[in-house]
Subunit: 234 residues, 4 copies
Amino acid sequence: MSVSVELLSFTPEPDRVVAASAKLCYSDVSACNLKEGLSDHQSAKLLAHLVKSGHMSPFEHVAFTFAMDGLSRVCTHQLVRHRLASYSQQSQRYVLMEKPEVVVPPSITKDGALKDKYMKIVQNSFEVYKLLVERGVPREDARYVLPHSWKTRIVVTMNARELHHFFSLRLCRRAQWEIREVARRMLLLVREKAPLIFKLAGPSCVVYGKCKEVSSCGEPYKNVEEVLADVLDF
Amino acid sequence: MSVSVELLSFTPEPDRVVAASAKLCYSDVSACNLKEGLSDHQSAKLLAHLVKSGHMSPFEHVAFTFAMDGLSRVCTHQLVRHRLASYSQQSQRYVLMEKPEVVVPPSITKDGALKDKYMKIVQNSFEVYKLLVERGVPREDARYVLPHSWKTRIVVTMNARELHHFFSLRLCRRAQWEIREVARRMLLLVREKAPLIFKLAGPSCVVYGKCKEVSSCGEPYKNVEEVLADVLDF
Amino acid sequence: MSVSVELLSFTPEPDRVVAASAKLCYSDVSACNLKEGLSDHQSAKLLAHLVKSGHMSPFEHVAFTFAMDGLSRVCTHQLVRHRLASYSQQSQRYVLMEKPEVVVPPSITKDGALKDKYMKIVQNSFEVYKLLVERGVPREDARYVLPHSWKTRIVVTMNARELHHFFSLRLCRRAQWEIREVARRMLLLVREKAPLIFKLAGPSCVVYGKCKEVSSCGEPYKNVEEVLADVLDF
Amino acid sequence: MSVSVELLSFTPEPDRVVAASAKLCYSDVSACNLKEGLSDHQSAKLLAHLVKSGHMSPFEHVAFTFAMDGLSRVCTHQLVRHRLASYSQQSQRYVLMEKPEVVVPPSITKDGALKDKYMKIVQNSFEVYKLLVERGVPREDARYVLPHSWKTRIVVTMNARELHHFFSLRLCRRAQWEIREVARRMLLLVREKAPLIFKLAGPSCVVYGKCKEVSSCGEPYKNVEEVLADVLDF
């Protein structure tokens, strides 16, 4: 089974909440009547202005919670480096690994012989894991033998400001392919719920029309749609 | 008009989202089926365990956004010191102050003569503010003359973990009275939406049955209900 | 007395610590021998590369602590909104205000008659403060009558990454003048201790050669030196 | 070679900086004269009071930077979950792994036959890694085959408040053994430089004289010295 990314929960009416919060800063409006009287058109204009000018703080008022299955611990080790976010991850200290389940990089999948070697060492590692557990080694120690490719599960919450930042880094062609695919799926999900907030999100080539990396990949994306269509199967 | 605190938005089904996230850490369950099969009784037990053992990270997956009117800048200066939260505040740089609106501390309200002096200096300060603006002084400079008591508006988002921390500090009898009343109203609002998460929230006398302050007030609250009934009008 | 900003403490050899940390990420070097064998020239090249490419995380390993006197509570209310920093501020709840000490905006100082009105209302506010305290009103309540211009004291710690972010926002010509002057003094101090880290710091016109604001001021700074020479007395 | 933890850098005179910052909050002292006139005895008393009452914010003004070699990626995956800290870690995307270097859990080391199996699968995994790289698989993909036990290098910065929090969690007997040993070495290092700040640091049995865990280990440490003497070799 491939990686799975689903939306577990999110702040309702995200576009309206952000627009209303931004409006409070600059006008003489009561906080308690905030959501009234903002037309969709006004919201859209206000949100586009905020993204372009980098005034992202109102985007923090809405958050999205994702349930993810089947990503490797390589990927979660990168993911949890984003500190302005919240994580609950399946513990290998407590949960027994029942069968070998790993992510296989596409660069390995495409070569049958290499893939066989990869799967064989995974299987062998799992055999040693099982043996260690049977001999009384604690699960938390036996797992030292499992490969980085081992699949894990995680719940991730990020607010819309951090998501913008996350997408700018992790949807870049130079980002590592596994977290890129996770990011692509996240963006697909949040665009559906908050089309205005994420209308303009992604790597700098898309948001600013210009690469900000010193060593550019040389193939800038033309627009968000092209980013979203860039599926990677694994 | 008194201070007003309302719930602008929040993560739906907060109790279930936290319980599901906590469950993922310790069991072999698919992230994508998380919300299924958790009974209310199981959720309640799990959440009580998390609070008592201080394992608060799953509480970060749900957030609450408050719209607040009519609190003083004394109060917001304290409020924004809580850094694990998001704020959008009405700007005195851009918004013109139209009339004098201030918070009056109860210790002043109760003495008619003192209150008169207080209101007179507020009025005089506002007259100078108006004069400065008329003479071409920018709003952002004219406001230097306004008193700390001046009312402001703010949108505040905190997740449930930070709210627990906030309540532990700001619902203590030794906290400043204005932020205490704001905190009391916040707790009333979130308990309605997330009764399990906030079943046991408040100062240490309530949560741990014991004061953690070095200089205790000497009057521990008996329970959350007593905290919530301790209304302060201003 | 004017505002005062001094360096209370900082991580020693900041340039070397950042360069060494960055080097660890990309090479096969022992963490414990990190500081050896990095020439000044190599450090300079590495740090310039990090700033230009926006890979700022190694800048977090060094921090600077500032002691500030004589800034207004208008200014500290803005300052403490930077959440990736640490603050210890003089408390008006506990400390008695002994005499009127306020910041006067230059737009008011320049007009003698306006300044007289400003100072008179400050004096009157202080008289009411004193009266309230004499009559038994707690200090924490009496201060509600003091103007926003009231001077305060604060200790501020920021790491070099947050300082870069802070300078980009607060040294822009569109930033509020008081916090701009505080930021200018901070940059002067840290450049002396960490010339490589802060070689290229300031508003986007200086760092990127191009304004990132949607509504630009129209007067881009040419270089950091011009920013640092733009003194504002108050 | 065993794990290695060294102090790369730290804020000088940490005890004095924290005491001075705390003093500012509660007294009418100029920020710029802060460090004068605080005797060692006064500092000690003030810091002990802060720890006991949980008023930890002044501890944020000093930070410690550690260079760590030879810990496993199991350990760093836990370490980087502490979000109020800064990390620079050796990248397996870019750096080629030259030979097999892994952490062996003591529960495996003690059984010769198990250890042989463990080392054999490590060696086999490394052979596959080398083969993959030779066949043109990118380093960042080949590493998927390496075990969690693989050694890594990391630079870590935490301020003294976060360190207190870190020690309270990670020096508990119930913490995972590898991160416990890392934490023990960190505490040894910082106590030497900041004896007052870390006089009372460690798990709740030591700091509060009472276990705060719901499921206690049943063997509370008597004091910090006992924690520091509890060496784990691996």
